[in-house]
Amino acid sequence: MNKYYLDHLEELESEAIFVLREVAANFQNPVILFSGGKDSIVVTHLAKKAFYPAKIPFSLLHVDTGHNFPETIDFRDKLVESLGVYLLVGSVQKSIDDGRVAEERGKNATRNSLQITTLLDTIEEERIDCAIGGARRDEEKARAKERFFSHRDDFGQWDPKNQRPELWNLFNAKHFEGEHFRVFPISNWTEMDVWGYILRENIAIPSLYYAHERRVLWRNNSWIPESEHLQIDENEEIVTKKIRFRTLGDITITGGIESDADTLEKIVAEVAAMRETERGNRADDKRSESAMEDRKRQGYF
């Protein structure tokens, strides 16, 4: 017997694919912002499905802070090769070397906000008119107000109080020279939807998401991995724990949680039972109540 309705993951998938095809039809030089995190992996997977049997008509853009998990870079390179897409890398180290930005100081220093300059410079240099991102509205309160097609002025800035109204599925992609769009195909997905979809589609993700033994220290309520970039205080101690990461960002600020979830099924079960938001382990959002809004206004992802 046929059912003539889609379940929620099928409907979200169809919506995201519609959005990705609108991008292909409306822009000259669109890229997918690829971080190696699960959300950008899902967006890339959706792009593959949207255009098959043709190739993905977008390049991938990785804004490389230089503070990566090596596993993320391996994963990125293999994916790029299997899809046959072009990889653009914007280097934060280069922005620092060129004097475009200055490194933050202190033990909580991160290169997170430095990415904004590198991203905007790359967008300008490569004449990118649309950057597709994996941001979701459920992640953070400023993102709850984000459009699918989000206009950026010629300084790359977001004006949250003056956004174009977005009705039905009619997306206004019109822009003047020098302006660009950020497009968020999985706006309406929750963390649970992303995991449910990864499980249903059996999408490959970096090993970091699975529980594994790692040398870590306890800081800001999460397990921060040991790395060459980590400054360790006297009262802090490196221990070995079985952990996994719920989100992937810079190695210096991405905290893991203790977990035994070493299969997708177990991860989904764990996420379903989880009582804290996923960005709760991200030091970049803890700086102030409007940390995300402030970064987004300036041109953050």
Binding site: N2, Y4, Y5, L6, D7, H8, E10, E11, L12, E13, S14, I17, F18, R21, E22, A24, A25, K48, K49, A50, F51, Y52, P53, A54, K55, R137, K141, A142, A144, K145, P160, K161, Q163, R164, P165, E166, L167, W168, N169, L170, N172, K174, S187, N188, T190, M192, W195, G196, L199, V268, A269, A272, M274, R275, E276, T277, G280, E289, S290, E293
Partner: protein
Amino acid sequence: MTTQTSQLLRFTTAGSVDDGKSTLIGRLLYDSKSIFEDQLDAIEKTSQRKGHDGVDLALFTDGLRDEREQGITIDVAYRYFSTPKRKFIIADTPGHIQYTRNMVTGASTANAAIILIDARNGVVEQTKRHSYIASLLQISHVIVCVNKMDLVDWSEDRFNEIVSEYEAVASKMLVKDVHYIPISALKGDNVVNRSENMNWYMGAPLLHSLETLHISSDINKVDARFAVQTVIRPQSEEHRDFRGYAGRVASGIFRPGDDVVVLPSGFQSKISRIDFDTKELNEAFAPMSVILSLDSDIDVSRGDMIVKANNQPEPEQDVEAMICWLNNKAARPRTKFSILHTTNEQKAMIREVVYKMNIDTLERNMDDKEIGMNDICRVKIRTTQPLMIDSYRENRTTGSFILIDDATNETVAAGMIL
């Protein structure tokens, strides 16, 4: 676990200032256990700092910094929660500033609308406005929540009085499926859990109603419509002969072998295959995103519409529609706009304003022809090329359009074809 197959329900919430809308949304999220511990901690701290009694659930829906500072909501915000039965998307629309514009935006994708009424005040002008917008945007289900029942001693008589008042208002509009629920968002009565204070109410609490609204039949399954987004032509050896049309089924059902017509050219063909990813499908229905291939080599491009030969929309250059004006700048007479209808973009001009709707009194003003922010008007539009239209009442996708100001690129109006 919530990864099971479940349907998606999109709803919008409407209420005047202080009707308790934010509290209601906070209550839905809180009682359905969709608020995480760290979010709750943040709200508890803020509540204490501001000197509120207990946890102020309304704080959960505050977004931008200006909104928190001024205690108001500026823009549509989207919230998500799920129960084992359904996944929900709430379009949370602000109560005052630019109200019409925001509610129209939120309502455009909604299956259902919650309209809040303060039990002490009953049906007020804004209630009429919210209901009119819900009917204009053809939201299939309306749930009227009579809130703050605790402040009218949980009175059944008061509730019935408001139901009658609302029925009088609704009778003048096209509101299809109306439900009434007496609630107290603040105390939690009849939101997620059944009220112990109102044993006289025999119906279901709000969440249960949202979980069981019958939405499968809301989609038009009769008129097959498929607007082409982009042409798929792989530049690879393996798929060299593949030429498919990517799009999302707007309504109806398509199957391989169907006789179809491509509009506006009118060329006839047959569907040779339907693909999605690596799978070949034996049918596609709304709102599936697929690729259609035709068995003849005809010219098809973005903006064209593939429909069944025996059921075609009207190609029209003169379109009569209700529009909602969304821009600060008033409409200038005889300005040219870009009109975006499905994936088809043309130029258009507003030829005539037939009347302006006073959405507080529901009276038509035939004399005032100025179109400004938040105005809802009946207009006659002329386009440079024909649009393949259906009436909005029959088809939300092929009956809707937006107007874009070519000078600013801003979306200035939303239109519903009559």
